[in-house]
């Protein structure tokens, strides 16, 4: 279904606009929420979190390309320029290395910058400042220079935008001590984690997903409260189960939930863990779940080698090896730069079926090859 939706888009779509239209219908259908519950899109969640934190703390400011007048390439900063003025919502020249370095300097000096990358792919032009300056300064200065900064923006595969707009950088940043790396899935995640990131004294890489911006999620009054935030380093059990553990982050959480729904009809009870925090990684939650289900499937959109799945697998091997009843299954993106053509693109990222099949393999259920097409 997702593939079909993508194909309708035709070629060369404008990123922001098209992707807002692209709400994977499958993901919507898979959730059965009460119609009465209040809903919020991930975009609104991010926007309100930014707004509230800027309102609460005058040292918080937003900078990046197009964040002000244009209100963000994906409209995450909508209304903020009008509300907080050009000193706190800064449109910058097009130099990632420049504005990232400047934001790091501002953080050194006590401000709390939120840096928006139009996509995390472009953060590659600024990675020296993120790794060598932001991540290491507190340690190198022996705690004299703290760097309370948030790097945020869309990460991972979008749709029809090719290799240089579609990479997931979770493993890249999660590799580095000194950084914290968060990846929200739902509106609740987006609000709670972004607020936590902005309040955190350490540098945080905040990986959003373009395809989730327009998705709506039910949201409670507690989450809407301006004091709400989520703990960094804690995963969330999105769905309880007893037969197999599925770990995922960002958009793949939605896929894992859909897979769990399908699996339940076949008598397999899958537990879905939304990692929320990639670094620190909630190893305790993962291992506790695996000790209960004895089976593990890891899902990530990024490349397999040295990835998040590899790290989770190692953690389980180190801590819970004797509990495993089956080899760990790793579902990841294909080990190639993202192709543009819709058919190939679909093949290059995990699909719900892939997760279902992997879970069945882990549970020693027969998976007829014909059914995999």
């Amino acid at each position: 279904m997702l593939g079909a939706a993508r194909r309708q888009l035709g070629s060369g779509p404008m990123l922001g606009q098209v992707l807002r239209r692209l709400r994977p219908p499958a993901a919507e259908a898979a959730r059965a929420y009460s119609a009465a519950a209040k809903e919020m899109t991930v975009r609104e969640a991010l926007n309100s979190a930014l707004d509230e934190e800027m309102s609460a703390d005058p040292s918080v400011f937003l900078m990046g390309e197009e964040v002000g007048e244009y209100q963000g390439a994906y409209k995450i900063s909508k209304g903020l320029l009008d509300k907080y003025g050009p000193d706190r919502v800064l449109d910058t020249p097009i130099t990632e290395a420049g504005f990232t370095g400047i934001a790091v300097g501002a953080a050194y000096q006590g401000l709390r910058p939120v840096v928006e990358f139009m996509t995390f792919n472009f953060s590659m032009q600024a990675i020296d400042h993120i790794i060598n300056s932001a991540a290491k300064s507190n340690y190198m200065s022996a705690g004299q220079i703290s760097v309370p900064i948030v790097f945020r923006g869309p990460n991972g595969a979008a749709a029809g935008v090719g290799a240089q707009h579609s990479q997931c950088y979770a493993a890249w940043y999660a590799h580095v001590p000194g950084l914290k790396v968060l990846a929200p899935y739902s509106a609740e995640d987006a609000r709670g984690l972004l607020k936590a990131a902005i309040r955190d004294p350490d540098p945080v890489v905040f990986l959003e997903n373009e395809l989730l911006y327009g998705e709506s999620f039910p949201i409670s009054a507690e989450v809407l409260d301006s004091s709400f935030s989520l703990p960094i380093g804690k995963a969330k059990i999105e769905r309880e189960g007893k037969d197999v553990t599925i770990t995922a982050y960002s958009k793949m959480v939605g896929f894992a939930l859909q897979a769990a729904e399908i699996l339940s009809k076949e008598g397999i009870s899958a537990e879905v863990i939304n990692l929320r925090s990639i670094r620190p990684l909630d190893r305790a939650a993962i291992n506790a779940s695996v000790r209960k289900t004895n089976r593990l499937v890891t899902i990530e959109e990024s490349f397999p080698q040295h990835g998040i799945g590899a790290e989770i697998c190692m953690s389980v091997v180190e801590e819970s090896f004797e509990y495993l009843d089956a080899p760990v299954e790793r579902i990841a993106g294909a080990d190639v730069p993202m192709p543009y053509a819709a058919n190939l693109e679909r093949m290059a990222v995990p699909q719900v079926d892939d997760i279902v099949r992997a879970a069945k393999r882990a549970c020693y259920r027969a998976v007829p090859m014909a059914a995999t097409a």
């Binding site: 400047i102 300097g105 501002a106 000096q109 020296d128 340690y139 022996a142 004294p201 350490d202």
Partner: protein, 488 residues
């Protein structure tokens, strides 16, 4: 009209339309629709007004006039006011109001030359013999200040010599001297206040010295002992001090430049009576960060001084292989920034230039670029032997005939403020103090094991606590296999 030009002008027109909202909408009967955005002098055709979206309700525009309130925005606002008139006759030629100001059209095709006929001149106060050049104007220096500057320059020189020797003796792993750049170090620091934030490269320890970092503190850092401000985490010369507003040295070249702009922006937001000052070598000006920092600083109107120490050599690369511009100073103008070239071996010139730069940066909210001409008399670092790539005579010439310390001493002595006896007493005292500092630093225990894990994050995360516990357990089990100098 070339297609790109047409595209550009229609884009500009759209933006202009939004910007000119406050002006009356263009009349359909007007013979000459507002045409400043059409880069052509051909008479416009009726009905092709390039202002299709006037009245769209969006008053924000291309120039974001409201964004900054400095001089430049006033100029931009003036340009907007006049934009309606369209093409303007200027001395028989025509001009266009282009974002940024009026541009004249000329019939002659002229490429800008690659350089000016003469190189940008260099501000100097003292001649080679330490006498003030007639007609030179400089910031007055009291006797007390003059002597403090002199003694700190000498201290820096002696410190460099002794630490360099300590490295050669294998007592520390690495060192970088500032030989030949003592005037830059001390005089620029003297022109600042302690509230000004310094983001150094690595050849400015004199700034820290001036601010009160003790010789013992320098030694503790170089030996990486437990009293080191940096808990022994950084290689020698990567000093840093919160107390003295001196950021920890960053090894990658030029990263400190955008950091300084950010720090300056922070000072500006807090309305502090202070600026950020950052240093870079001639080689560092080739980094992308140099461009980003200068461009952003100009656009953000950040109170920051970029101090380029043009010492001729980036390790083995001479400036002739580094850039073809007239040094760094010329580039300020391209970024819309005031800049000055100063004799970096003339303490009074450096002091005066930085003093004035600071005033402008803070009072007018603007960045300033200072390029000091000097010479790296020492090797790049202790890992370098510069005689392999540059003539020894050249080094000797700068070390003796152009030495900034002796030149300044002549001036101080000429004022009757200093004598040979003072000189030997000073040098002797500094030497004794340093040797003692080195002995103390060397005997001081190294940082304890716990410090391996602190400051990675504000709070130690559980995985690091676990690693620390495992390490302690293992050391306890196999004490003989672990070095005795790690305090557990």
């Amino acid at each position: 009209m070339a297609p790109w030009l047409a595209r550009a002008s229609s884009q500009l027109a759209r933006r202009a339309a939004r910007r000119l909202l406050s002006a009356p909408p263009p009349s359909q009967h007007r013979l000459c629709p507002p045409g400043p955005w059409l880069l052509s002098s051909a008479p416009p055709v009726l009905g092709t007004s390039p202002l299709p979206a006037a009245g769209s309700g969006d008053s924000r525009g291309f120039c974001s006039v409201r964004r900054f309130t400095g001089e430049s925005s006033a100029a931009a606002a003036a340009a907007v006011e006049e934009a309606e008139n369209g093409l303007v006759a200027v001395g028989g030629d025509q001009a266009v109001d282009f974002p940024g100001g009026k541009v004249s059209f000329v019939a002659e095709m002229n490429f800008l030359p690659e350089s000016q006929k003469e190189r940008i001149n260099c501000y100097r106060v003292l001649d080679d013999d330490g006498r003030t050049i007639s007609g030179s104007r400089f910031q007055e220096v009291s006797k007390e200040l003059a002597l403090k500057m002199y003694s700190e320059m000498v201290t820096l020189q002696v410190m460099d010599t002794i630490f360099f020797e300590a490295q050669r003796q294998g007592r520390i792993s690495f060192y970088i001297t500032s030989h030949g750049e003592e005037a830059i170090n001390i005089a620029s620091a003297a022109a600042l206040t302690i509230d000004d934030i310094v983001l150094p490269q690595y050849r400015e320890p004199g700034v820290l010295l001036w601010r009160g970092f003790t010789l013992q503190e320098f030694a503790n850092q170089c030996f990486g002992n437990k009293l080191d401000n940096g808990k022994g985490r950084q290689m020698p010369i990567h000093y840093g001090s919160n107390r003295l507003n001196y950021f920890t040295v960053s090894s990658p070249i030029a990263t400190q430049l955008p950091h300084a702009v950010g720090a300056a922006y922070s000072l500006k937001m807090d309305k502090k009576d202070a600026c950020a000052v950052t240093y870079v070598g001639d080689g560092g000006t080739s980094e992308g960060d140099f461009h980003a920092a200068l461009n952003f600083a100009a656009v953000m109107e950040a109170p920051v001084i970029f101090f380029c120490r043009n010492n001729g050599w980036a390790i083995s690369t001479p400036t002739s292989e580094q850039f073809r511009s007239d040094g760094a100073v010329i580039r300020g103008q391209a970024y819309g920034m005031r800049s000055i070239r100063v004799d970096g071996n003339d303490a009074l010139a450096v002091y005066t230039a930085v003093h004035a730069a600071r005033e402008m940066a803070i009072k007018e909210g603007r960045p300033i670029l200072v390029e000091a001409l000097t010479y790296r008399v020492g090797h790049h670092s202790t890992s370098d032997d510069s005689t392999k790539y540059r003539p020894v005579d050249e080094i000797e010439h700068w070390r003796t005939a152009r030495d900034p310390i002796s030149r300044y001493r002549k001036w101080v002595q000429g004022n009757g403020w200093w004598c040979d006896a003072d000189e030997s007493e000073l040098r002797n005292n500094v030497r004794q103090e340093l040797l003692k500092a080195i002995q103390v630093a060397e005997r001081m225990p190294k940082p304890p094991l716990a410090e391996l894990f602190t400051d990675v994050y504000d709070e130690i995360p559980s995985n690091l606590r676990e690693q620390e516990r495992l390490l302690r357990d293992t050391i306890k089990k196999h004490p003989a296999d672990y070095p005795a100098d790690v305090h557990i």
